[in-house]
């Protein structure tokens, strides 16, 4: 019997099975940010175990609130910074070099096919875009990961998504994943890996695959996983060219992580993207979705473009293409947070930042900021935000605020009209 990608990764990383059904895995990367890590650090110190298993496998960033907004967030940043220095963690990203974790770490080539990756952050599933098993965990699991380089998991079952067809105009990876979550529900993939296959995924950039995998957790999924292919190799090439004689050799090696044709799945779901429209959430759960035609005209106060879901260069390009030569409607304010400094720089070079500013957007430094309602664009009670982020929970971007999740294209069209609007007429 063949294996799924997650099964292959589990087998290759198995340390032991202390109890039936529980597998302890060796970790290739432990990622850290300043919200969930400081408490783990404090606890390790308190237990007299202030050690790290391997500083080269730990990557850390200050991204959620940066630059710090008050004493408390400054203290969190300081605890992480001091710890990274103390343990000689070289891949530590502070102000000036920092950006949203799930955009920054892949951009630096830290994630490879076949890797096991954990982070004290639910959107760690993003990194499965590289054909890795990447899972969000809590602070205690993070603590053990830092100390021992292992993590315990129940072997997840896998749902196979065959996603086929050419994306219609105005439909992007974000629309596809919102559609999928709407179809299977917010716990449709709990304790499951969402393995994506099909011609649509094959045609996607790594950025789009990250957008897709990013929201696996919104369906309860442990990890999203795409199959490593030449697109994966091309993206990683600057980082791996010393390791392989050619791209073909890299592809041959990475292909070992592709699911076998006769792998067994918990469920197989066929997705035809050709019938999709731009898709948007309307309630307080990410599975409450409608098409743009159904929601056009909905009142808005703020437009937010950024986050680990849709703050990458291709997202900024699409939004800028629509915003070019146009202005924000007077009733809304716009905020753009490029997800990393490299994205910010490239967007500046390409003239995208100019387009956003001409349109009336405020451009912030790379940070999570408003995505989780901590800084840089928190909503007032009763306000409504069109957002390219991943969570529309009540109060997520500010107490009493409401969030409509959508693609950067739909957000840009909505910015122009000051209400939810169809991006297709601007493309």
């Amino acid at each position: 019997m063949g294996k799924t990608t997650a099964e292959k990764i589990f087998d290759a990383h198995l340390v032991n099975e202390p109890f039936p059904g529980t597998k302890v895995l060796r970790l290739d990367a432990v990622l850290c940010h300043e919200i969930t890590t400081p408490i783990a650090i404090d606890d390790l110190i308190r237990r007299g175990k202030d050690r790290v298993f391997d500083p080269s496998k730990i990557k850390a960033v200050i991204d959620h609130v940066t630059p710090s907004k008050d004493t408390k967030t400054a203290t969190q940043a300081k605890i992480l910074r001091d710890w990274a220095r103390r343990h000689d963690i070289k891949d530590f990203f502070d102000i000036g070099a920092n950006g949203v974790c799930h955009a920054l770490f892949p951009e630096r080539g830290f994630i490879r096919p076949g890797y096991t990756v954990i982070m004290g952050d639910s959107h760690t599933c993003t990194h499965g875009a590289f054909g890795a098993f990447a899972a969000g965990i809590g602070t205690t699991d993070l603590e053990v990961g830092i100390l021992k380089g292992v993590c315990a998991f129940r072997q997840p079952k896998t749902i196979k998504f065959n996603v086929n067809g050419a994306l219609p105009k105005g439909v992007y990876a974000k629309d596809v994943i919102l559609h999928i979550i709407g179809r299977i529900g917010v716990n449709g993939a709990t304790d499951r890996v969402m393995e994506f296959h099909g011609s649509t995924i094959d045609g996607m950039t790594m950025e789009s695959r990250m957008t897709l995998c990013n929201m696996a957790i919104e369906a309860g999924g442990t990890s999203g996983i795409c199959q490593p292919d030449m697109t994966t190799v091309d993206y990683l090439w600057p980082f791996i060219q010393g390791e392989f004689a050619s791209k073909e050799a890299a592809l041959a090696d990475y292909s070992q992580w592709r699911a076998d044709a006769d792998a067994e799945y918990d469920q197989t779901i066929e997705i035809d993207v050709t019938v999709m429209e731009p898709t948007i959430t309307f309630g307080y759960k990410p599975d409450q979705v409608k098409t743009v035609s159904e929601l056009a005209g909905t009142r808005l106060d703020q437009i937010y473009i950024g986050s680990c879901t849709n703050g990458r260069l291709e997202d900024l390009r699409i939004a800028a293409q629509i915003l070019k030569g146009r202005k924000l409607a007077p009733n809304v304010r716009g905020i753009l947070s490029p997800a990393t400094p490299a994205i910010f720089k490239d967007a500046t070079k390409e003239g995208l930042i100019d387009i956003f500013m001409e349109a009336g957007f405020c451009v912030t430094n790379p940070t999570c900021g408003a995505c989780l309602g901590m800084s840089n664009g928190v909503l007032a009670e009763g306000e409504v935000c069109a957002s390219t982020t991943n969570r529309n929970f009540m109060g997520r971007m500010g107490k009493g605020g409401m969030v409509h999740l959508m693609s950067p294209a739909t957000a840009a069209a909505s910015a122009i009209e000051g209400m939810i609007a169809d991006p297709r007429k601007y493309l």
Partner: protein, 175 residues
Amino acid sequence: MKAFGGPVLFLDRSDINTDEIIPAKYLTEITKEDLKPYILEDLKLPGFDPNGPKTKSARVIVSRANFGCGSSREHAPWVFEVNGITAVIAESFARIFRQNMFNCGMAAIELPKADLDLIFSHANNENATMNIDIEAGTLTMNGGDKQKTFSFEISPFDKALVLAGGWVDYADLKY
């Protein structure tokens, strides 16, 4: 080991997320104790008051499907812990929340919907309490003069974590 049981707080809704259990703005608190006043602050449910006496006295939460979905924040189990709530009973849990509970030595127990319906029938009883025996895998619901026992299963690993009081010392010893 910890005693599990006591007065029950009924939260009759599916998909209660960790933002509702502890909003992100409190993630800057440095100690678990500091989280205490903010338990379930953003949860909107008819008849539920996060600051009410029922929340204060509760030792067990009973809820519906997909409890603890959303953010991975372990602040959610912690805010329960510092308020004296060490067990959550639900039809199902989000994976990260469930593991966080066990990693902290607390219990996240799944029961079938039919059992939960019976337990929820006590929701209007002011004095509803529950006793949970992790080793035996049973929980007993007491509602006034009525009493009913249900059995549940947790994985051997999760049971070991509860009995060991958490994952850090266990892992440091074994790995």
